[in-house]
């Protein structure tokens, strides 16, 4: 009787496991193998040892440039978190029409990436764009955002901050509402100022959310590329080619699936290392109740 139950149990458990093996584990393992081969994606792979990894580390300037670009673009994470928290705090109040404002700020999150990037292309247009028009009103001559090697990445960071705002804001809003009122009341009685209460009570109480946002946005940022493909095509002069964009080009445009797999694994290990580091560091600043 019992045996039979176990059999059934394992049968049910096997569904997700089979799914994982079939659609994640086996392809992943295969890509490890492919990363040690010369593989066009159409013909059978030819084993070449560690050639791909050696090329990656030693002979490909573009790999390092795109890696740098990726971390540069990740500047949008700290900036985005600060802005999202600021907006969440101002939306965490009992004002008329608060739902309307919350909806407004969340709207970009549910819109299509393509539509948004096309919109931002217009905002960044140097002669007729909204951004340069506003800058001109305060007497600043704005740059040719997307076609300047210097300004293309800052433009993409601004766009990235804006695009990630909605979801981070909602997460912070939920966290802020979970901060016990009694803490604030007690501190107020003891004479703590608003700033003190924010630093000593609010920030520690929402720190698990901060960690969650940090880790998920780091992973997303390191894998980001569709908006770069649409807005700048990686240019000018590769200044906005991120590592995943370069990987994509190698895999599907230059027929170097093997090399692209090596790149993917290098990136994967890097993301793993950063995430572990984040967890380890988090012990010092994240407080769980």
């Amino acid at each position: 009787m019992k045996r039979k139950e176990y059999a059934w149990a394992y049968l049910f458990i096997s569904a997700p496991i089979v799914g994982f093996l079939l659609f994640a584990f086996i392809p992943l393992s295969y890509s490890v193998y492919v990363s040690f081969t010369e593989y066009s994606g159409y013909q059978a792979p030819v084993f070449t040892g560690t050639n791909n990894y050696a090329k990656l580390a030693l002979h490909d300037e573009l790999f390092w440039k795109t890696l740098f670009n990726t971390f540069y673009s990740a500047l949008s994470i700290p900036i985005g978190m600060v802005v999202a928290l600021g907006i969440a705090m101002s939306l965490n109040q009992k004002v008329r029409g608060i739902r309307f404002f919350r909806t407004m700020f969340f709207l970009p999150t549910i819109s299509s990436v393509i539509a948004l990037t096309l919109l931002w292309k217009w905002i960044f247009n140097d002669s007729y764009g909204l951004l340069n028009y506003l800058l001109e009103l305060i007497g600043i001559q704005g740059p040719a955002w997307l076609s300047s090697e210097t300004w293309a990445m800052p433009a993409m960071i601004i766009q990235g901050v804006w695009a990630g705002l909605g979801i981070n804001m909602v997460l912070y809003l939920a966290a802020l509402q979970g901060v016990p009122k009694s803490f604030h009341e007690a501190a107020e009685i003891d004479g703590a100022s608003g700033w003190q209460r924010f630093v000593k009570i609010t920030i520690p109480c929402i720190s698990p959310t901060t960690l969650y946002i940090l880790i998920t946005s780091t992973i997303t940022a390191l894998q980001d590329f569709p908006r770069f493909q649409i807005m700048t095509e990686g240019g000018p002069n590769y200044s906005t080619t991120t590592i995943v964009y370069y990987l994509f080009q190698n895999a599907f445009r230059y027929m170097s699936m093997g090399y692209a797999s090596a790149m993917a694994w290098a990136l994967g290990l890097l993301i793993l290392a950063i995430t572990l580091l984040n967890f380890w560091l988090s012990k010092r600043w994240v407080h769980y109740e």
Binding site: I26, Y42, S147, N237, M255
Partner: protein
């Protein structure tokens, strides 16, 4: 005990799955022979081309994939219906891929079960043909009714492959269309500013272009309200000045030669020094055709494919040769090819012949997007479409005669070209001279040619 049992069951499931996965991979690897298939395919092509019709009885089914806007889809649906009526033994399944066609086809082709006939953009032809994904069609073409002597040489050229480079050797696809690039101009702006229209017979020289563009540029309070000329399609400028990008054997980058450097420097100066062209690298910032449509550009370069869109414009416009000293430039094209592993080669070729042949070309030309593949047809009302813009449609005919495929189609691996177009940025910004930029790029581009295209160095 319990745990042990659980483990073994898991192990069984796991190993079963692994086995399934391995057989799947094995099946995948089975597609390997297609590389060597060229020679065998050729011989089968020969035997079957001269051979018999598909045997009677059940109709043969083939799949056909392409993209295109709704009007193109409509035309192809109609063409296929007509094709089926003329070939009752063949049924065609039309697979319309509206977005990211190349990305999706890459996946389908890698999976090893692609449609029998599909669109092959000339920029992707080299990659696909070098991977043995296309069936040679030279012998079919030779023994069929298609008159290649009446077709644009440059339209056919780009679908040839000799095992190392594109542009030589047997045919692997027929052009579905070919789109020459020309100069479009807003006639109303010219009339208003009292500037004579550009000639439809003789291309402007660089000096004449600069002169005309200066007259058409309007500045107000230090801000340019109207540009004389649109963003420069620089590849054509290099060709027009007698320059080239690759050596004849395609092994070397020669874009740092004198003629190419001078042409590119002129193109950059149009924006940076003379300020008659919007920020030259700014093609991406604002679509140039949108600027043209809103009257902010007096002249612009683009291909034949913009004609249906521009016909909706409220102002009068016309076309002139590319202003690059002589008849030159590049034309875009999409081909129709056959999957190398098709089981219905004869039926597949029949469809290619029909779509690339006179009947298919006529219907497509009427849409206005492209010039027909056949010279004799281009000279008729089918293409010239009197009464419709542009008035001087024959400019496209001259352009098709003289223009070459884009340089990115020259080698199977186009990384060298990406490096070139990305690397020109400091020149467009006016930070470096064309000579410095191109000389600096040469060793890197040479390395990319060599690494990406080993077949030409054998």
């Amino acid at each position: 005990m319990r745990l042990g049992k659980g483990k073994s069951l898991l192990a069984v499931t796991a190993s079963l799955t692994l086995l399934a996965g391995m057989t799947a991979c094995g099946g995948n690897n089975g597609k390997e022979p297609s590389a060597g298939a060229d020679s065998t395919a050729k011989s089968t092509a020969k035997s079957s081309a001269s051979g018999s019709q598909a045997p009677g009885g059940d109709p043969v089914k083939i799949k056909f994939a392409g993209w295109g806007d709704p009007s193109e889809k409509e035309v192809f649906t109609k063409l296929i219906k007509d094709f089926e009526a003329k070939n009752p033994t063949i049924k065609v399944e039309y697979l319309h891929i509206p977005a990211d066609y190349v990305g999706k086809m890459n996946t389908i082709l890698a999976g090893g079960d692609a449609p029998d006939v599909f669109y092959v953009p000339d920029g992707d032809f080299g990659r696909w043909v070098s991977q043995g994904l296309l069936h040679p069609i030279q012998e079919f073409v030779d023994s069929s009714s298609i008159d290649t002597g009446d077709m644009w040489e440059s339209g056919l050229l780009r679908y040839r492959y000799d095992g190392a480079v594109n542009g030589k050797g047997p045919l692997y696809a027929l052009p579905k269309d070919i789109g020459p690039t020309v100069l479009y101009y807003n006639k109303e702006i010219f009339t208003k500013m009292n500037v004579p229209f550009p000639s439809a017979d003789t291309p402007m020289t660089f000096e004449q272009l600069l002169d005309t563009a200066k007259k058409l540029t309007v500045e107000e309070n230090g801000k340019i309200k109207q540009y004389g000329m649109g963003p420069i399609w620089w590849e054509g400028f290099v060709f027009g000045n007698g320059g080239a990008f690759l050596s004849d054997d395609r092994r070397e980058f020669v874009g740092n030669g004198e003629a190419a450097v001078a042409a590119l420097q002129f193109a950059a100066d149009l924006a940076n020094v003379h300020k008659v062209v919007p920020n030259a690298a700014a093609l991406k910032d604002m679509n140039d055709s949108q600027m043209f449509q809103t009257g902010r550009l007096a002249m612009m370069i683009t291909g034949r494919w913009m004609v249906p869109e521009f016909r909706k414009l409220g102002f009068d416009w016309d076309v002139a040769p590319l202003p690059v000293n002589k008849w030159a430039g590049w034309s875009g094209s999409v081909g129709i090819g056959i999957y190398s592993k098709t089981k219905q080669i004869e039926a597949a070729y029949k469809l290619v012949e029909y779509l690339g042949g006179p009947e298919g070309q006529k219907e497509q030309s009427l849409m206005g997007f492209a010039i027909p593949s056949f010279k004799s047809m281009a000279a008729t009302e089918v293409f010239l479409q009197p009464g419709q813009k542009p008035e001087h449609a024959e400019v496209f005919i001259n352009a098709a005669e003289n223009q070459v495929p884009g340089p990115w189609t020259n080698l199977p691996n186009a990384k060298w070209f990406d490096m070139l177009s990305q690397g020109l940025a400091p020149m467009w910004d006016g930070k470096k001279s064309a000579a410095d930029v191109l000389n600096g790029l040469k060793p890197k581009i040479d390395a990319a040619i060599k690494e990406g295209n080993p077949a030409i160095f054998k």
